[in-house]
Subunit: 82 residues, 2 copies
């Protein structure tokens, strides 16, 4: 398992409820691809959302996000962490 | 205190030692601005580094990064977190 940081842009004005609903949609199906979403952070002002996960590969992360209805704009394999 | 995610681009080929050295340079002076750097993740392939912190404001985060020699390209106030 490798750690991934994925980024969603264009989410200006996102509310806490919307973030929770989107995150729960990921969690509900993450087992299908062996992904574990660990955290998510959002800046509603710039419309940026970051999701930290562990997954077999970047495509698995993207497939979960796509099926949950919110494709990521970037998925980065963060091989270094402190 | 508010949570911030800052992003550094153009760090292609970054090594674990370089990330640790940069992170420790931040930690050494973070008290000067009341910043607490909590985590950092890096994707050396795309050259992207993410730093999660708690701080009084975005400028405080940037001042620490600047003094430590690595200005952030983006500093986002992540008011939502799960």
């Amino acid at each position: 398992m490798t750690k991934f940081m994925d980024v969603h842009h264009g989410m200006t004005g996102l509310t806490g409820d919307q973030l929770r609903e989107a995150h729960e949609a990921d969690l509900a199906i993450q087992d299908q691809e062996g992904v574990v979403f660990e955290h998510t952070w959002a800046d509603p002002e710039s419309g940026t959302v970051y999701c930290l996960s562990e997954a077999p590969d970047a495509d698995a992360v993207q497939r979960i996000h796509e099926r949950a209805g919110h494709r990521a704009d970037e998925v980065h394999c963060v091989t270094l962490a402190l």
